[in-house]
Symmetry: D2
Subunit: 338 residues, 4 copies
């Protein structure tokens, strides 16, 4: 932390700041310029990040130098992490594809979707059994019945299952069925849920919050890792901006940005990221070209009948076409597809 004093801060003001800091067992580095004094703070991150020195008289500006996360950072682990999901690696030189309907609606719909995404080349089946919905009157999911259907689809196809958990109570039941537990965008800062999935130990897919900075997103991953669960997959899914042509603004620069500071794998969800099925294919290609470790794609056997997000779902035919295009880019990027 660097504290920039005001141009005419008095010696007493400077001393008070210094005393406050050293009183907490931290060290200071004083740099007295002609016009202003700058105070560097050295010591334990935990204490430093909580210091409210902005309110002390004579202080103009406080600048944070170090990030507040640790385990997610490249300083903690330099090489890329590869998350093992029951034998399927996420990260590294492979490219994973997670596909399926937004919500599990029925046994038929799910099995049909599973066959289609398997045929297209996906390794994971996605599908929500618990759905967070803006309105209490929208379809909220089939809950445990939906999980059972997912398990049956896994049985039939060999696909791994990724599905969302929306509260602490259902962490055990979701973990009992899922191969990867998803924390959704609305729950990215539901810290109790992050701790719970951290303790549960299953691989976690952590979606970026709807208006979360990259730094907040990394800190959310830190909550999971801080409980001893190092299997975290980051998922960019668009951020909220003023643009309304798309449902969200898919921030592909976040892929390279996260990878520049963290060792965790990053996948991209262009279905929620754009909300427009016609844009899913070009943005899937772009995501892989940007360096993503995988894709999460909404596929529905009949988008016009979908109970949620039909507008952004691909038909099996479109998905197959997408996979062919993505394979070319993956190959160029030196990535294997299953």
């Amino acid at each position: 932390m660097i504290i920039v004093m005001q141009p005419h801060a008095s010696e007493a003001e400077i001393n008070r700041v210094v005393e406050k800091i050293t009183g907490l067992g931290l060290k200071v580095h004083l740099s007295e310029g002609r016009y202003r004094t700058i105070i560097g703070v050295i010591g334990d991150k935990k204490i430093i990040n909580g210091l409210p020195v902005e309110v002390l008289p004579g202080v103009e500006k406080v600048v944070s130098v170090t990030e507040s996360y640790k385990l997610v950072g490249r300083e903690f682990k330099h090489e890329d992490s590869v998350i093992d999901v029951g034998g399927v690696p996420v990260g590294g030189d492979g490219l994973v594809v997670m596909a399926g309907p937004c919500a599990v609606e029925s046994r038929e719909q799910l099995l049909e979707s599973a066959e289609a995404v398997k045929a297209g080349g996906a390794q994971f089946l996605r599908g929500g059994a618990y759905k967070p919905r803006t309105s209490p009157y929208s379809f909220q999911g089939l809950e445990e019945k939906g999980l059972e259907m997912l398990a049956e689809a896994r049985e039939k196809t060999g696909l791994k299952i990724v599905t969302e958990v929306v509260d602490i109570q259902s962490v055990p039941v979701v973990c009992a069925y899922a191969d990867v537990v998803q924390v959704g965008a609305r729950n990215m800062q539901n810290f109790q849920l992050l701790k719970a999935v951290g303790k549960a130990g299953k691989p976690v897919l952590l979606k970026r919050g709807i208006a979360a900075t990259i730094n907040e997103w990394l800190n959310a991953a830190e909550y999971v890792m801080n409980e001893g669960n190092y299997s975290v997959i980051m998922c960019e899914r668009g951020i909220r901006t003023f643009e309304n042509f798309t449902r969200n603004t898919l921030d592909l620069s976040a892929v390279a940005a996260v990878k520049s500071v963290s060792h965790l794998p990053v996948i991209v969800d262009p279905s929620h990221g754009t909300g427009v099925w016609k844009l899913v294919r070009p943005m899937s290609r772009a995501a892989v070209a940007a360096g993503a470790d995988g894709l999460m794609i909404e596929v529905h056997p009949n988008p016009a009948e979908a109970l949620s997000d039909g507008k952004q779902s691909l038909t099996p035919e479109n998905f197959a076409g997408l996979m062919r295009e993505v394979a070319g880019i993956a190959n160029l990027m030196g990535r294997r597809m299953a």
Copy 2:
């Protein structure tokens, strides 16, 4: 819902849309213009809001006509709601002030704060015992010990207690101590928590999410009311924008906007809304002038020692000054202060 067909949509395409809608038991109104056909959908909101007709061939645009909420709306209840908190009304012609530290840090700090805000004229003591924090290494709150201190402060001062609940498990314990249960910005779309506080029955203070639209915020309130709990107080606390002079952008137009469509009372938190203590006083005046039913203000006996958000906390002296200024505006607005 209104469905705008493409200029050259075929009769078959139009028929398919109509069949899909009527097949669900809904009615249609066809308006065939020279260039395009427009289809109005009439019937049960729940079914209509889930229709994914955008993906049907020939459809250009789908426009939602009705809002998805019901109980929070003026159509459901025309006159303003007044929430009774153990004898203290929120809404109506009074103006409530909730003040206190961001976090409960110690018995001394809390009691000192409570005396100060009581002296200043507040009716509620605010203070977090459970703190949602971006980093897992920041101070997370005193939990039940903090709740006990809040109860002691209530005992000593007669102030009502408003405090945050961050997960379902702690709903019972927080409700056992609090007069008003706060759902924070990060949990505004934690729908399980909304349902839980809805069932608990205590008055709920619902903060606007960090990037929530007014419509989403009202739907979140609908989740609480849909469980039978009609005592919901809305709290504007700033939204996330590109501006970084302030921590958030306090959206005071949301006060009048919510009141134009909903009967629920709205209060304003200029401390989180600006993040800068010098702006709290002018924005408190502005909030009351905009029609707010109350204020939530961070006050700390010693902001420079605060374990969280010291930068935006007022000293007791500053708070007393704020209350004097606000009283003048409240009076003009025809509102009584305690």
Copy 3:
């Protein structure tokens, strides 16, 4: 400027940064911590702000300490500026109201509007003769004919005229008619226009850009003042966010924020700021309570017939009601109204 080196920056890297800076005639202050070195840069702002040291090896972060503006700042002039507009002061202890139609549409419409706003208590008539419009097919204004009508309205009512200039060529003709020349939100970073109105010498009303930070807005004012024209009135008119209940998000905290760092007067335009006529009255009260030096309000004798922005215009009756309410707040704030 403060340069934070990476934890393991080499001596050679540090030396290279130092040499680069000192080679430009600037001075450095070295603060060598246990883990990192921090380099403070001292000297001419103009040179410092242009330094691209982020790209030098070993540099982690560069922090700007001083703002790039000078003349608009409180360090340059401590007391509040009062802009004299032909005898009407803007700033200080008065409150000015600028009102009128969005666009000058006809002689009758304008004169009727002028009488109405005069009767309501405004000192300025606003009205656009040159209109920047998103679509080339929308009404673009009456141009010089519109200016002549504004002059006639001034003649008849004694109101001062504020009207927008949209390009350099028309600066002379607009200045020939206007008392205050407005630079609109879309032109806030049209730097050639800023220089031209700076040279023209007439008082300038500078609207905040649609997505401009407070810092960029102040720098835009600096462009005007740097040409020798110190008569600049800042006008907050809402910023672009994700919220779509309102046309823009009116950022009232910007009023107090600008005043905390600058001596310039700040007025508020709640008509464009909200885009909804029902919100104009509460937000006008709020603006004055927040400390604004004035208001800019759209008034139209017949909003339903307006060629532009009828949705946000007040009728003369509504305007008169607004003025009564605002007068009460102004009085409380210690401000005189004409």
Copy 4:
């Protein structure tokens, strides 16, 4: 335009709306539902888009059905436009690369840059002679001297020149030197400038405004085309959001979005779009994979000495590496590179 009346709108209110519309020579289509009446408006776009019916009693909502642009749309011209720049096509099955320094700083810097980008495979040299800068004290460009240097570089390398024009006065001189005239992000809604470059007839590169919606951006292009100049190249360069890891948020979905509704070619500027040189390479690959017709890249022989935007500039070596990677993606996308 569709007008949704309130549930209990009276017949008189409905009639008034209908009369207002038909009085302007437009036609209406009435759809009387059980709960509400919906009025469709048919006729001349120019008149319809200006109708302020929201303020009429009984009106709940007004929905625009058609876009306000015409010439930029696929309805006007179905097949992709290819812009001819002195024999170099932009759009179609080629991929163009425009590269060079942010600003022309000196003859040596520019010629060295030109040789480097030529060697790397670019067809266009970019470089600003007129620089719009936030602060009046930052380097503002070499103006006509800079244009002369650009012409000399073209002479020496055969590269086409793209350079920015910042005001109407300099349109003639910039057109005299440039092959493509750039309108920058800050001037995207400087409508007089758009008209001026429309009249000048040179190919125009139109950057997206810093907070412009795709719809506003297309309307800005319409201003140019409406003057008879159909040679418009759209350039996505990032939008302003809350995220601050990057300078802007590069919106690659805008590439496919624009192409879905418009025939104009779209290129991408990942240098301004991210502001971080390390992200330029992955985002260049992603842009081409998303379907962009070209790239605009900042290259500087010595980024650490650059007078503007050094932080986001590539060295010639990095640029050469980028070009090799991009070539692979371009090839996959069926695009030729020069």
